[in-house]
Structures are given as structure tokens and as C-alpha cells.
């Protein structure tokens, strides 16, 4: 009998908890949650949600009078909202509102609005927390409205109206962008929008008044009228229309036109694509990470195979957003996420393990790190050995491109800094890689001595 491993991050709702067993994902529903689950099961709501691709596949695994165990479909990769691009968060927000509207029409509701309850499966948002669904009672308010604003609306507004990426702010706070913080950034012209006026400015005013005069607020709360279902639906639809119209304010970035401006020739590109294809086929890669992916060109062969899932990681949100839109359009298996490798998502939240670090979630069959290491060693001064140790810890096999100092890109990096990296040589690279892994192949790519090393971990 293998042991149950409870998910540390699954504690907010006392009605149930996620656990892992034999590489499967289960949810234990205790006595408090049984009534809620019975409602979800009634009238086939659970199957409706699965059939309409709102909910991950879920089946009852065990049932008795004290608890219910559900078995959930296991997703390849859990990503967090602070790793998403503008369009990914926008899609998640629209999905959340669509799900609410779907549920409300079936006299059900969502009891929270956490962006962490949404994951991406084949580039489409999907809901993972079945216990967030409950019965709707006539006249109820949308209790998660403020949470929705902070998890979805405010970060999107920050990007769309102010041109500030939400990711690092979101990661610092974990619950999104506080209404009181974003309201300080809005100009008088921004407030001409009824959505921003009501859902940010006025909401903040009411919150301030509530905390300043709790007794008066309590009196007001006890006399508030019922909130009709029609008003509830109107509110959801208004927010939906507003968010649908939001566009990311363009902030030019260094890598915006990288795929056009890079120093490779067409032949070199072709050669790299060939090497990746051979690596993916020979190693029967099922789950690939494209590190420093840009628009995901080099992992395109893999992401077009039905059986292969690809996670692309980069720190340029503009190119990632374009890559996400392209992947959605092409219906490919490439899912881009945001991370700066010199400061990737760390363990966060309660006990510092509620939200897992990127490295902890990174269990791939293979990695490709093309034109990456010089950005970490020459631009960020990270020791070569540390970079190789990290790369070889992510997967049992992979491709790493060595870019020498003589390469035009390296030269630009060292122009002002000077050559302060005497250890950055191909010989050292090769020796260090041999310490951590077996070198299977070395392929030349360019005239400037860029080489791609294929490694496999020593067993």
C-alpha cells in the first residue's frame, strides 16, 4: 500500500483536501463537504461541467457516510497566475465568468474566485476545484466579487491601462493586486469607465468606509436588500464585456523581434531544428521543456506531435504572449509560462510550501536550452558550473547549446563589461557537463563555433 501525500496548499476550504497516491490526484471530501458534493452530483451537474470542458475529469473513487474520495485527472503541469501572460490571465478571467454564468443558470454558484483554481489543458482554461461549486440561494450576493477583482480584473487593468506587467507584483502578494493599491494608480480619465469607477474606485471607497466604521457598515449590511439573479447575471456579463475588450498596452521589450533580429542564418536555424527533432524522436520525449523558448520555434516539431507536451519558459512577456496566441491558433501542445531563470518562482505562501517553486514542479523527460547559457553566465554572472548543475537536474536528458565568447551575441554582452569570465570556455563547459552527465553527441551549428551538446544523466 503506497502512502497518501496531502497537498500542503489545499487547506483553505475545510470541506476537503487534495492528496496524491501512486502518481494519481485525489480529493478527500469530509462531512462538511458531503452536502455540497451531493448537490453537485444531483441533476448530472458534474457531468455537464465535464462534458462542457469546464471541469477536469473527475470520478468517485470511494464513498461512505463520513467521507467521499474523488479521483481527478492529473494535469501535466501546474502553473500559477503570476507565471501567465496578459492573454492567459484574460482567458482565465473570461473562463471564470463563463463558468459562473453557466452555473447560475443551473442554480449553482462559485464560492470563491481564486485564479489558482484555473489551470490550462491544451491551452484552454479548465477548473480544478470542484468543492468551489455550491448551491445558489435566491437573493444571494456574489461573495467572491472582491476576490475576482483582485485576482483577475486589477492585474489586467494594470497591464492594459498602465503598461505595467502584473507578474512580479502578483507573485509578491499571491492574492493578486489589492484594490486599494491599484485605485491609487488610476487617473481621473481612467475613472470615466463605469467598470473602473465602480469595481475599483468605489469598491475601495466602500472598503475604506467599512473598516473605518464597522458598526455602521454592519447595520447597513443587515438592511441590504436581496440581490436578484438578474442583477447577478448583469454584473457578470458587464465584467465579461469589459474584460473581453481589454488589450495589453504595448511595452517594447528586448526580445520582441528576436526571431527576426537574431544573428543566425537560415541554414543554422534548419540545423538546430534537425538536431531537436532527432533528440525528441530518439529519446521518445513525452514532456519537454523549452528553456528560453522565445516564440517556441525550436520545440515546434515536438509541440505538433499529439503525444508530446511542451512547456516553454522565457522571461519576455511580449514574446510569450505572442507564443500563447500562436499556439492556441495552431492548436499545438506548446504552453508558454513566464520565469526569469535568475529569479524563478520560489516556494511561497503558508509555511513557504503553499505555492511550489518552479524547480519543484519541473519534472520533464527532456529539456532544450538553446542560446540560453550565455545569457545566464555572461549577462547575469552566474557561474558556469551552477548553470550546468541546474540544467542537468531538470530532466534525464537534454540539449544545451554552448555559445562561445567569440559569437556576435556574446561580444555585445561583454562589450561594456569586458571579459571577466576566464573560465567560460568550451573546454570547461565540456568538463563540467561530464561531471553531471554523459555527453552523448556534440553537433556544430554555426561558423562561430556554437555547438549543441546532448546529455543524458548518469544512471
Amino acid at each position: 500500500m503506497s502512502k497518501k501525500n496531502y497537498e500542503f496548499g489545499s487547506f483553505r476550504d475545510p470541506a476537503g483536501r487534495i492528496f496524491y497516491k501512486e502518481n494519481n490526484v485525489y480529493r478527500e471530501i469530509n462531512k462538511n463537504g458531503i452536502k455540497r458534493f451531493e448537490f453537485i452530483k444531483k441533476d448530472n451537474l458534474i457531468n455537464d461541467l465535464i462534458d462542457n470542458e469546464y471541469l477536469v475529469n473527475t470520478e468517485v473513487s470511494e464513498i461512505n457516510e463520513n467521507k467521499i474520495i474523488l479521483k481527478h485527472e492529473k494535469l501535466n503541469f501546474i502553473s500559477y497566475p503570476y507565471e501567465w501572460t496578459f492573454t492567459q490571465l484574460k482567458d482565465a478571467a473570461l473562463f471564470h465568468l463563463d463558468l459562473q454564468i453557466f452555473l447560475l443558470n443551473k442554480n449553482a454558484k462559485l464560492i470563491d474566485a481564486s485564479a489558482y483554481n484555473i489551470q490550462f489543458k491544451n491551452n484552454k482554461p479548465i477548473f480544478i476545484d470542484i468543492l468551489s461549486i455550491d448551491k445558489y440561494s435566491d437573493g444571494e450576493y456574489w461573495y467572491a466579487h472582491k476576490q475576482f477583482c483582485e485576482n483577475f480584473l486589477n492585474p489586467l487593468v494594470l497591464c492594459a491601462k498602465k503598461g505595467i506587467n502584473f507578474n512580479n507584483w502578483f507573485r509578491g502578494n499571491l492574492e493578486g493586486i489589492h484594490t486599494k493599491e491599484i485605485s491609487k494608480l488610476l487617473s481621473i480619465f481612467d475613472l470615466l469607465s463605469p467598470t473602473l469607477f465602480f469595481h475599483i474606485f468605489l469598491l475601495n471607497r466602500f472598503e475604506e468606509q467599512s473598516s473605518a466604521n464597522p458598526k455602521t457598515t454592519n447595520r447597513k449590511l443587515n438592511t441590504t436588500r436581496k440581490f436578484s439573479k438578474k442583477s447577478y447575471l448583469n454584473l457578470l456579463n458587464q465584467l465579461r464585456n469589459y474584460i473581453k475588450g481589454l488589450e495589453n498596452k504595448k511595452i517594447p521589450s528586448n526580445w520582441d523581434n528576436y526571431s527576426e533580429k537574431n544573428t543566425y542564418t537560415f541554414k543554422e536555424e534548419e540545423r538546430k531544428l534537425e538536431i531537436v527533432k532527432k533528440f525528441v524522436d530518439e529519446n521518445r520525449i513525452g514532456f519537454l521543456a523549452d528553456l528560453g523558448c522565445n516564440e517556441g520555434k525550436y520545440s515546434e516539431y515536438a509541440s505538433k506531435q499529439k503525444k508530446i507536451k511542451v512547456i516553454g519558459i522565457d522571461f519576455d512577456l511580449n514574446v510569450l504572449d505572442r507564443a500563447y496566441k500562436k499556439s492556441k491558433k495552431d492548436n499545438s501542445n506548446f504552453f508558454p509560462i513566464y520565469a526569469d531563470f535568475s529569479n524563478p518562482s520560489n516556494n511561497l505562501g503558508w509555511m513557504e510550501i503553499e505555492r511550489k517553486s518552479l524547480i519543484q514542479r519541473s519534472k520533464f523527460d527532456g529539456i532544450i536550452a538553446l542560446a540560453l547559457i550565455h545569457h545566464l553566465t555572461l549577462a547575469k554572472n552566474i557561474p558556469l558550473e551552477d548553470v550546468i548543475r541546474w540544467l542537468t537536474s531538470l530532466a534525464p536528458s537534454g540539449l544545451i547549446e554552448f555559445v562561445p565568447k567569440e559569437d556576435p551575441t556574446s561580444r555585445i554582452m561583454l562589450k561594456l563589461k569586458g571579459d571577466i569570465f576566464p573560465n567560460y570556455t568550451e573546454k570547461n563547459f565540456q568538463d563540467t557537463l561530464s561531471k553531471f552527465a554523459n555527453i552523448k553527441n556534440i553537433s556544430s551549428v554555426t561558423n562561430t563555433e556554437r555547438k549543441i551538446y546532448e546529455f543524458s544523466i548518469k544512471s
Binding site: 470563491d112 475601495n204 475604506e208 438592511t223 441590504t224
Partner: protein
């Protein structure tokens, strides 16, 4: 007068018992929604009377036309 009554009616008649959710709903958010609901109710009220007024005008207009 009717307008004022309707507001008071809609505000005080349905005293609502707040359900318990495991997240803190944020009292400001509930007050905001109450206000939005009220704005919608007033909007509906105005629309209703505007329609009545328009019908009335149309009727008068039609009668005048027949004459």
C-alpha cells in the same frame, strides 16, 4: 414620491440573511453590489415610466392625428 417609496421599498423589504462563505467577502463589495442592484432597479423604474410616458404621448399624438 413613488420614486422615493420604491427605493425605500427595494432597500428595506428584502432584509437579507448573509450566507457564510469560507472566504472573507469584503463588506465593501457587498455594499457596492447593493448599490449596483439599486442603480439597476432605479434604471428599470425609469425605463418603465419612460415607456408609459412614451405610450401616453403616442396615444395623444395618434388621437390628434385622427382628428
Amino acid at each position: 414620491m413613488i420614486f422615493k417609496k420604491l427605493i425605500l421599498f427595494s432597500y428595506f423589504l428584502f432584509i437579507h440573511n448573509h450566507a457564510h462563505a469560507y472566504i472573507d467577502p469584503g463588506t465593501g463589495s457587498i455594499l457596492l453590489q447593493a448599490l449596483l442592484g439599486l442603480v439597476a432597479a432605479v434604471g428599470a423604474y425609469i425605463t418603465l415610466y419612460w415607456r408609459k410616458f412614451k405610450n401616453f404621448i403616442n396615444k395623444v399624438f395618434k388621437i390628434k392625428k385622427k382628428d
